[in-house]
Symmetry: C2
Subunit: 490 residues, 2 copies
Amino acid sequence: MSKGLPKRSENYPEWYNELVKRAGLAENSAVRGCMVIKPYGFAIWEKMQRALDDMFKATGHQNAYFPLFVPRSFLEKEEEHAEGFAKECAVVTHYRLKADPSGKGLMVDPDSKLEEELIVRPTSETVIWNAYKNWIQSWRDLPILINQWANVVRWEMRTRIFLRTTEFLWQEGHTAHATEQEAVAETEQMLGVYADFAENWMAMPVIQGVKTPSERFAGAVETYCIEALMQDGRALQAGTSHFLGQNFARSFDVKFVNKENQLEFAWATSWGVSTRLMGALIMAHSDDNGLVLPPKLAPIQVVIVPIYKTEEDLRKISERIDPIILELKALGITVKYDDDDKQRSGWKFAEYELKGVPVRLAVGMRDLENGTVEVARRDTLTKESRPIESVAEYIRGLLEEIQSNIYARAMEFREANTFTVDSWDEFKEQIEKGGFISAHWDGTAETEAKIKEETKATIRCVPLNSIEEAGKCVYSGKESAKRVIFARAY
Amino acid sequence: MSKGLPKRSENYPEWYNELVKRAGLAENSAVRGCMVIKPYGFAIWEKMQRALDDMFKATGHQNAYFPLFVPRSFLEKEEEHAEGFAKECAVVTHYRLKADPSGKGLMVDPDSKLEEELIVRPTSETVIWNAYKNWIQSWRDLPILINQWANVVRWEMRTRIFLRTTEFLWQEGHTAHATEQEAVAETEQMLGVYADFAENWMAMPVIQGVKTPSERFAGAVETYCIEALMQDGRALQAGTSHFLGQNFARSFDVKFVNKENQLEFAWATSWGVSTRLMGALIMAHSDDNGLVLPPKLAPIQVVIVPIYKTEEDLRKISERIDPIILELKALGITVKYDDDDKQRSGWKFAEYELKGVPVRLAVGMRDLENGTVEVARRDTLTKESRPIESVAEYIRGLLEEIQSNIYARAMEFREANTFTVDSWDEFKEQIEKGGFISAHWDGTAETEAKIKEETKATIRCVPLNSIEEAGKCVYSGKESAKRVIFARAY
């Protein structure tokens, strides 16, 4: 099955597309730019959702659900926000079809035209702040800490499965606070949650930072982000957390009586990650044989393949394996026993490699005699023979090791592909080779735009941990106080 | 807080609306017919989702996700289906807004008109069968057992929160099978899952049956349903499972090579329950004091309220209660300790009654001295004093008892409100009083329509367990072989 997967080194985009398809993760649908997330892909997304949802709840958030439709007049209320989203909106203008009188089929019923158009939400700040208006009167009503899991639509012209699709799934947190300080702390806390998830679940190291003004979310005062490096040397923005100041409160007139008994606009944050993370997960770790999944997000953590010729052999193997399966399950490990006789074991090995199952056990008649089992690791593609009786406990440790190893490998890759650059010539040369470039920037939008124009590189972020260091802008030569991270990005 | 909740006996619809609002379950949004599901309401829905999702997975189903948009031409393909949904469609016709040149604000950009309109899915048979076409070639590819959790939109003219909203949340199962028999078995299995969920989680007895042809899902060969009785004597359809025959396979040309090596259209089912279940849950059990929730679906199963005057008292109570909380949590019970000093205990008691928390514990200084705790049941509104040291174990049993009691009460109500009726005069009299009417029907759509016209009663279903019994149609006097269930319905 994995035969013919294009090599990363030869055609990275084609490798990605084929891998998404062959591993059964997703496919393009008949609707322009919209994808079908297939069961195996969705199972990974469900694991991501569960982990994130638990983290949101552990930090005091509750889920809720707000309407899919945004009235046009809502979108207009926050000017920058409107400008940012107006050009990519799916617009509902009618509410009925009727039989086409000129022949077969259906047509839009012109009598069902809406007085005010409805936008399919590209994000929900406006709808949610319109609701919060009625929920917030006093500082006692604050903070409001709400998250929503939802689908959103942005009419993208160039789409790419998981990475940029017209419809995507995401979560959007929307919080309201009594003070600026508290809202900023929330924004930073949620960035930390995202970084924690990326590193400890996805095994993907990220740089935490803030966006430059030109890359900010439309309507935000400050946009924080986590940035990851993919294997082709391009950056991927994996999550954002926005401090919205009082912008939306002002647009929707959300005032509260503060502790000093004065009317004040509420302070807001919003933060989100999406099915784009699926793309990041695939591109961060997978290889020319297929997916490599971190054990914590793998729908199947261990697959066991019996190698047999006769029914009687299979019976004997199953008898020995059944208690191992129970032991693995008792350890909280997801295991699949594949005794399907329609496929040969060689086919199965390739298939589970393609699907990124972290550990594969194979057991044949000789193993039974020797009391052994063959343990294969997906991350290193190595195999070893282990005593069967203690194999469950061994696998528990092995899964942890694989999780760490995948992270360490990605970290090593990132370190080898992060370059400190101090001259424009070096910058132009390095950007062609890919990777993160740490360089001085004079802080102006003009320079940022020119660098982008000349090299397609954008400022991914101003890292939170960047050190004050006097230097000269790599492009303009003007004074700079700290380095920022440049890259070509998805 | 619960002061002023209208009484069910005086104004049932108003009682329902006020309860939904005051218990913090949901509210109407600024978008016509669309609701905001608030955190407490959403927490109940999440519990429903988790339980159902586990049941779907236990019966071999996997989740996936299909696009929100249905191209107009897809909807046209299955004629009955198109007819059934065309009149209530939100239609996307454009994909961009622009600044209104005549002044302020945004307008639809006429240059962004879509070649083919997109319908916001009212249900996903068409989109899914269009995808299945590429997934199904051979009997080896079958069955496909997929479920999707999603939002859908039906442009309803008269909406009612949770019960009938323009946008609602639901799950829709869509399966494909190699034989008719297997598809029918799946349809019936999923009806059984719904009945199991309704009865064992929602504590709501249901009648399982099939719809008459005039009440079938648009495009189905047979629609199975579960029907529940609300406290005002009206019926509520709580879930449906459809045997779709080969209708959608034919419309989307989904053929497979069967075991006999012949091309055949695939057999289909679809089945769904929605946030309508929230309305059913509320109306099945709640009383004039507020919500009554079955423990299995209560976001908070036990609330503990300390009764104290001084900080020192509170410290002593908390010290004694902390280990009880740990014990309860260890038993898998969700517990909230409400030591908020901004509210008085009387206010708290009313609030948790309104919110339907199944068990309330109150502990004061005298309780500490006596080693007791006051245990109050939400379902019976009774209180008793219990020894504090064994209270956790006692509560575990009590929650089970409450779950059973709520079910038994609803069952008793349904039995007392199900009437066997054999004359038309009696039918007309009884239907005014509400309840299920079991009566003979001649099997014609004409009679069904006339009964509906004259009494607003519809045939809720032909029960699966109905006994063959010769009789005369209650309306026409013609021959009938079995009784069906009539009621006025939500």
